[in-house]
């Protein structure tokens, strides 16, 4: 009866097309379908009892607490025009180039990634801040949307990254086990820290590739304008004034993590608080604006979490229908050889990324496949970064690409969903290209950890 899980998936995709809110389509279709299957004994209804426990798990998750806080921070920066000034200041550095704004988005996005690692918050922040500015400068809608979505997913790979922490946790035990299975009784270890250090160079390569792509497209475009004189002049007057405070703020977030004042979750709160202070100092935040910011924070966070709730219900039903067994049997038919096995695993993770999110893949799929690959002698850091890069694409691949949802949630109506889909395609291509580089030259990931530790 495992094929029913595929039917559910197809059904959800069809109902999504109606345009009814995604979160409720995910939840409602899954529930009704599970109910129908239960009538024929094809669904174990006791799984429904897990619902309140799973939902409570979502609201009681400390890591996800960072989402509304980073959203709040982003909105304060937007309302007080601080982040816009930052973006424009950085873009003024590249002002005479058409790609200036795109590069600024990538640079600012990279800095956000280095401080947050929360894809939703980064995409929302950048979407709110830079999408209108890019459109004003006549960037093709798809390029603007794609750049923001892809830049947002950098948080996955640029440390500190929650994805790497979860992945490191799973891979370290898989690595130990695979060695024990191989008869090695004083096993080598791999840690989350190894993955953090290992991800630095691949992350920077990815940023460089994004930048090169945006440069090429902008350079060849006839429609994109450079920053207008007025904006340039305006910013040039107070370039340091505009640049330093927000950079300082990002340094507060990044620094408070690196210097150990706060965990990433707490740093989100510190960042939001810092943003309020900064805006107050610049006299650019009044009571009405603060009210608007907090109302928008509720709406955006509520939107994100309703999707998480919907996805949680969907994945419960998907698992209950034996979707997991279906995935299992796929892996059992893996062709021999390290290269073949790795290729199949990467392909399957990529494909699963269309329907599942990184947490589910990390906890469900990686523990199944990692011991198999590691037993073949593959380097765990390399495997971890490969998987992390691969999972990054799951945020961008329709229909369940969370970066796409987040941007859709804050993009103006003039941006069509199809533009967002089109826009991310080249960036998915770039990610796969970097994945290929990493496959050919594993040292990209493994060299730095060897130097540090």
């Amino acid at each position: 009866m495992e094929w029913l899980s595929l039917v559910l998936f197809v059904l959800v995709c069809i109902v999504l097309m109606s345009g009814y809110p995604v979160a409720l389509v995910l939840a409602g279709t899954s529930l009704l379908f599970a109910g129908a299957c239960a009538l024929f004994g094809a669904f174990d209804t006791s799984l429904f009892n897990a619902l309140p426990i799973r939902l409570f798990g979502i609201i009681n998750n400390q890591t996800l607490l960072a989402v509304p806080l980073f959203v709040f921070m982003g909105l304060v920066l937007e309302k007080s025009k601080i982040a816009e000034d930052l973006l424009l200041s950085i873009s003024s550095v590249f002002g005479r180039y058409k790609a200036g704004l795109g590069l600024s988005v990538i640079l600012v996005g990279m800095l956000l990634a280095a401080s947050t690692g929360i894809v939703g918050a980064t995409v929302v922040t950048m979407g709110v801040l830079s999408l209108p500015a890019m459109l004003k400068q006549k960037y093709p809608t798809s390029l603007a949307a794609g750049t923001i979505c892809a830049t947002g997913t950098l948080g996955q790979i640029i440390p500190p990254s929650i994805a790497l922490v979860l992945l490191g946790d799973v891979i370290s035990s898989a690595y130990q086990q695979s060695q024990i299975n191989m008869g090695i009784f004083s096993p080598e270890t791999v840690s989350v820290g190894d993955l953090f250090v290992g991800a630095v160079i691949p992350g920077l390569i990815l940023v460089a590739c994004y930048a090169i792509y945006v440069c090429i497209v902008c350079w060849r475009s006839d429609t994109i304008t450079t920053a207008t004189k007025a904006i340039e002049a305006d910013v040039n007057v107070s370039v340091w004034a505009a640049l330093l405070p927000p950079l300082g703020l990002i340094l507060i977030v990044l620094g408070s993590i690196l210097l150990g004042f706060a965990t990433p979750t707490e740093a989100a709160g510190v960042g939001a608080f810092g943003a309020i202070l900064l805006a107050l100092c610049k006299r650019k935040l009044n009571f009405e604006q603060l009210k608007t910011v907090s109302q928008s924070t509720v709406k955006i966070s509520s939107m994100i979490f309703l999707i998480l709730i919907g996805a949680s219900i969907f994945s419960l039903v998907f698992r209950g229908l034996g979707g997991e067994e279906l995935i299992h049997s796929l892996f059992e038919n893996m062709p021999g050889g390290v290269v073949g096995a790795t290729l199949v695993v990467m392909l399957v993770i990529f494909l699963l990324g269309f329907i599942l999110d990184f947490i589910e893949i990390t906890f469900v799929v990686v523990p199944i496949v990692a011991p198999v690959l590691l037993s073949m002698g593959i380097d765990p850091v390399w495997l971890g970064i490969m998987i992390a890069l691969n999972l990054q694409t799951s945020f961008l691949t329709p229909p369940f690409g969370f970066a796409l949802f987040y941007l859709r949630g804050v993009a103006p109506a003039s941006v069509k969903t199809i533009d967002i889909y089109k826009g991310v395609m080249p960036f998915i291509g770039i990610q796969l290209f970097v994945l290929l580089l990493l496959a050919l030259w594993p040292e990209i990931a493994t060299w730095l950890p060897e130097q540090v530790y």
Partner: protein, 171 residues
């Protein structure tokens, strides 16, 4: 009917604003936690959990408010290009067959779970944590109620608008 939707909309608006205040308090409390802990070596798990409680309330109780403002994400490839009449119909059917069953079902499935927590007067397992886990869990039920009531108000609006647009189309 009209009075009902008006009252519900006003209530959702009020709740949304209150939750907005919660997010502001979250920010201030989180900053206070960090400053106290790293500046003054003072800290309690209770404060950390306080932020978590506010967070849960803002997300769940804000869901109806978000629905009212139509801020839940849609795949609008087709939705944006259809008539307002079809949009109202889509929303009416969606509320009736997707939203309503979900919130009613989640409410029913959560009821005993929440009740059990009240029964135990469940407290935090963490040292110095808050003793109101049962209130935090009750948010699940309130979430369902908020969404249900707001959806009902919107279905009335959708129904009325659909009828009006249909009549215009018929003329």
């Amino acid at each position: 009917m009209n009075l009902y939707t008006k009252k519900i909309n006003a209530a959702s608006e009020w709740l949304g604003n209150a939750m907005g205040l919660f997010t502001l308090i979250m920010v201030l409390l989180m900053a206070a936690i960090v400053i106290l802990r790293y500046g003054f070596d003072v800290g309690t798990v209770a404060m950390q959990e306080g932020v978590l409680y506010l967070h849960g309330a803002a997300l769940l109780l804000g869901a109806g408010y978000t629905l009212k403002h139509d801020d839940h994400v849609r795949v609008d490839v087709f939705y944006r290009s259809v008539t307002a009449r079809t949009q109202h119909l889509t929303n009416f059917i969606g509320h009736l067959f997707l939203l309503m069953p979900v919130v009613v079902f989640v409410f029913v499935m959560s009821f005993e779970y929440v009740l059990n927590s009240w029964d135990m007067m469940e407290t935090s397992p963490e040292p110095g944590g808050l003793a109101f886990v049962y209130i935090q869990k009750s948010l699940l039920l309130l979430f369902c109620v908020c969404l249900f009531i707001q959806a009902l108000a919107m279905m009335i609006n959708d129904f009325v608008a659909f009828r009006q647009l249909s009549h215009k189309g018929a003329r």
